[in-house]
């Protein structure tokens, strides 16, 4: 397995490099001149030219790219004259729109998105899988119909709607929770939980609905297999049949979906972060796109892509653990 992991990690570096090149090219393909956007009302051609130099946009694209890559390993210096300041390695660039090093911005935003994604992930996996198994066990009975009906509603509601409804009713109208005001868990765990509970629920409702349906369909398929009938005929308790023979066999697609969904969220749950004022990666990336902030765009794209690629690798390795027929080579 070790050579496989090394090979996949090598491939990841190649993919991230290609992705960063594509991001650079795409950014330069847009018709808007970022130098013009940093120019106030008294904008003159000289000022635009000066801003272009300041942003490094006067350099050929490949020079800009090489400078950017180099800074990741050795850092670089920004500013001019007597007012220079360092951007230490790993320097992902400097956001002139935010007046901050991109690495600093990502370090601040990433934990928030991780807390958001992991908390929601736990909730949706627990509720989605348990309710899916329960529905499958009570296939065609009223419990199944109720769970599927609720899941359909949950899956149909867009996350911005769920989030806003929760926020307006639970916080603004009923005052059951204080208004979300993010603090790190180590600073104030109670306030952290009060802030995160609604975003977790908002995301979990959407995803749990999907995982309920997915788990149910997988369970129904495996529970109708011949080996399940054999297990029951052998006199195994139903709980063992369901858990050991049914659920494990149906787990592979659930793990695949879970890995990719979690990775997607780690790249930034834009809408949820926006509604609940969580300054995570999603907000950072959207802000960067609207402000044509190339260094931030490139960095956030790479962080999100890294999560997806790593998640794929983990999922592949989990296949081997779940299903003995799968061998990584």
């Amino acid at each position: 397995m070790f050579p496989y992991i090394i090979r996949r990690l090598g491939l990841m570096v190649v993919m991230l490099t290609l992705l960063s090149i594509v991001t650079f090219l795409l950014f330069n393909a847009v018709p808007t001149d970022p130098a013009m956007l940093t120019c106030g009302k008294s904008c003159t051609p000289e000022l635009v030219a000066a801003n272009r130099i300041r942003l490094g946009l006067d350099q050929p694209l490949y020079v800009q790219y090489i400078d950017w890559i180099k800074a990741i390993f050795v850092g670089r210096t920004y500013g001019s004259g007597t007012q220079t300041f360092p951007c230490n390695a790993p320097c992902l660039g400097y956001s002139f729109r935010n007046g901050e090093e991109v690495t600093v911005m990502i370090k601040a935003a990433l934990p928030i998105t991780i807390y958001l994604a992991l908390g929601a992930f736990v909730l949706w996996m627990v509720f989605g899988i348990l309710s899916g198994i329960y529905a499958a066990k009570h296939h065609t009975e009223w419990q199944d119909r109720v769970i599927m009906g609720v899941a359909l509603v949950g899956y149909s509601l867009p996350v911005f709607f769920i989030g806003l409804v929760l926020l307006i009713f639970v916080v603004v109208r009923l005052h059951l929770l204080p208004y979300p005001d993010y603090v790190a868990p180590q600073t104030n765990p109670v306030q952290f939980l009060q802030t995160m509970i609604l975003p977790w629920i908002s995301l979990a409702i959407l995803y749990a609905a999907y995982y309920t349906r997915l788990t149910r369909s997988q369970m129904l398929e495996t529970l109708s297999e011949d080996y399940i009938r054999t297990a029951r005929a052998k006199g195994l308790p139903e709980s063992v049949v369901v858990r050991k023979h049914g659920f494990r066999a149906g787990l592979t697609p659930i793990v695949t979906s879970a890995g990719l969904d979690l990775a997607g969220l780690l790249g930034g749950a834009v809408i949820t972060e926006y509604i609940f004022s969580l300054p995570g990666l999603g907000r950072l990336s959207i802000g960067a796109v609207t402000e044509y902030d190339l260094p931030t765009i490139t960095a956030t794209v790479l962080v999100a892509a890294t999560f997806v690629i790593v998640a794929n690798l983990i999922v592949d390795m989990l296949y081997a653990a779940i299903d003995p027929r799968v061998r990584l080579s």
């Binding site: 940093t38 106030g40 004259g81 002139f96 300054p279």
Partner: protein, 570 residues
């Protein structure tokens, strides 16, 4: 302040139109006395204050906020609900509103004694001089106004750039150029200008002319923690989260009659959803009863807020700083009758409805707005100037007559530049339809919003008519008419260059009698509309709501903002 292409009121036009009777002008509290103590909360969807660095701060709301709490400027506007009173200058960091000499080419201010930075050191003349010099470092000190560069008597290169590169790069020779243009003798600060300016004391209300101490200057990073000389100082500032201001114990109220400094703490909360901000302030619970929002009420809640009497004392509905208009390119439409025909034919009511109805603004009769103060007077544009009355729905027959009187056919098609947004698309469709009734063929030219002004300010690329928005930089029409309608202005989308008009503008700019100057601007405003240099569509308005404990809230004319300095919480 920044030019604008955006139109915020795209939703709810039909709903709000039904509320004509419910909507009055500004209510608010407007109290001039307040209560000491408490925390004022400011809720915004913005992720940070664009710039706290005084030399980079250039938006009305941020200027009002920073000048109210953190940085004092040489002069300041009067805090008053009345626009004419509010436009009057008062001394702030200077002991008076400045003394002009040499026909307005030299301006002197005396720095007030006893004003201190938050670390206890005195604010000196040299600090102001140094602060102003930072504007010249245009590769680091970005986004701010460049009046120091254009107005001070410092030689410029062939390409128009200043020979002084700012304090970070200047060698001794370059620094000497600046030192000759701005001098300090004790506490007396003297500015030597390249050409006369009768209202330079208004220019210095901008925080670009505020002090910055050299040893505290961190260049690009100064935005993150400015050294305060106002009644508050920054306790913490986390972008995308919150800015907290606490009292500056080095601020001496005896030196400052403008800032009562009522609250103990100011908390600026960023990154909040616009809908939720309005909902929270409407609900008025807990800390939100001490809250304001500079963002305005979301369009979907305008009906609820303006139809319910319980919000009467908490809501504001006032002019914002912007006039919205279409500049008519006089090079492409040289015949004045043709330009007048455009004005006569346009259906302004429909344009306003598309922009959001009555809440989007009042019908404009020129580019000088009433909230500028004494420089505004009705132009009579829609009553007599075009030869007949023009209703808000347009007068296509008058337009046809004007074209016929011109003696030449209209130069069809009329290319209209605009920043492409769904709302602006609808506005252009309306223009196409209304101008077609007069035989004018409009050819829409949608442009990418981010690069809009880069195109339309290029005479080679501009069409026959271009959408625009303009807010004055200080309360004097000298920042409107010369900017929009003379070659020396930075925003002459009308490409107008009339010797007589230019001469009258120059004369008005040089007038030292403010009353006479106001009359001159009023006359020039009428002339600009007679010449049909622009189709003014509306004087923009903004609606705001504040918590029930907030006192002293009104729309402050000079910045179209809250009067931050006077806000208090009960």
């Amino acid at each position: 302040m920044k030019k604008s292409t955006s139109i915020r009121f795209g939703v709810g036009a039909a709903t709000v139109a039904m509320l004509l009777t419910a909507c009055g002008s500004s209510s608010g509290d407007g109290s001039t006395t307040g209560t000491k103590g408490g925390t004022l909360y400011i809720l915004t969807q913005g992720e940070q204050i664009l710039h706290l660095d005084p030399q980079r701060n250039y938006t009305g709301e941020d200027l009002a906020f920073a000048s109210g709490y953190l940085n004092r400027t040489l002069t300041q506007y009067t805090l008053s609900k009345d626009n004419a009173t509010a436009s009057k200058l008062v001394a702030d960091l200077a002991t008076d509103t400045g003394t002009a000499s040499d026909g307005g080419k030299t301006w002197a201010f005396t720095i007030r004694d006893g004003v201190k930075w938050e670390d206890g050191k005195p604010v000196t003349c040299d600090d102001v001089k140094y602060g102003v010099s930072r504007t010249f470092a245009s590769d680091i000190i970005t986004d701010g106004p460049s009046y120091a560069i254009s107005m001070l008597d410092i030689p410029k290169g062939a390409d128009g750039s200043s020979s002084y590169p700012g304090p970070y790069k200047a060698d001794a020779a370059a620094q000497a150029l600046y030192d000759a243009a701005v001098t300090c003798e004790g506490s007396k600060l003297t500015f030597h200008l390249a050409s006369p300016s009768s209202d330079f004391n208004y220019t210095v209300t901008l925080s670009a002319f505020a002090p910055v101490r050299k040893d505290a200057d961190t260049g690009e990073k100064y935005d993150d923690h400015v050294l305060s000389n106002g009644p508050y100082k920054i306790q913490s500032y986390v972008k995308k989260s919150k800015l907290v201001l606490v009292r500056n114990d080095q601020w001496d109220p005896a030196t400052d009659s403008l800032r009562p400094a009522y609250p103990d703490t100011i908390e600026y909360d960023f990154s909040l959803p616009a809908d939720v901000i309005t909902q929270r302030i409407m609900a008025d619970a807990g800390n939100d009863s001490n809250a304001i929002s500079p963002d305005g009420i979301v369009p979907t809640q305008l009906a609820a807020v303006f139809s319910d009497p319980k919000f009467e004392k908490r809501r504001l509905n006032d002019l914002d700083p912007y006039v919205r208009y279409y500049a008519i390119n006089t090079k492409k439409v040289p015949n004045v009758k043709h330009r007048q025909a455009i004005l006569a034919a346009a259906n302004r009511e429909e344009l306003r409805k598309i922009a959001g109805g009555i809440y989007a603004g009042d019908f404009a009769d020129g580019v000088v707005k009433p909230n500028i103060g004494v420089d505004y007077a009705p132009t009579g544009l829609w009553d007599t100037l075009l030869g007949d009355k023009v209703p808000v729905t347009g007068n296509p027959e008058l337009a046809k007559k004007l074209i016929a009187d011109s003696g030449e056919p209209f130069p069809n098609p009329l290319v209209v530049d605009y920043a492409k947004t769904p709302t602006n698309d609808k506005a252009i469709s309306s223009l196409v339809a209304s101008l077609a009734l007069a035989g004018i063929t409009v050819k829409p030219n949608p442009l990418e919003p981010g690069g809009y002004y880069g195109v339309v300010l290029d005479p080679a690329k501009q069409g026959g008519m271009s959408a625009g928005g303009w807010a004055p930089d200080w309360s004097n029409a000298s920042t409107v008419l010369p900017e929009l309608f003379t070659p020396s202005g930075g925003f002459n989308m009308s490409q107008y260059d009339d010797a007589a008009f230019n001469a009258e503008v120059a004369a008005a700019k040089a007038m030292t009698d403010r009353g006479e100057q106001a009359k001159a601007w009023q006359a020039l405003s009428v002339k600009s509309m007679q010449a049909a240099l622009a189709l003014p569509t509306r004087f923009g308005k903004e609606q705001r709501l504040q918590g029930s404990n907030v006192s002293g809230a009104y729309t402050w004319g000079p910045y179209g903002s809250y009067p931050y300095a006077t806000l208090s919480v009960k």
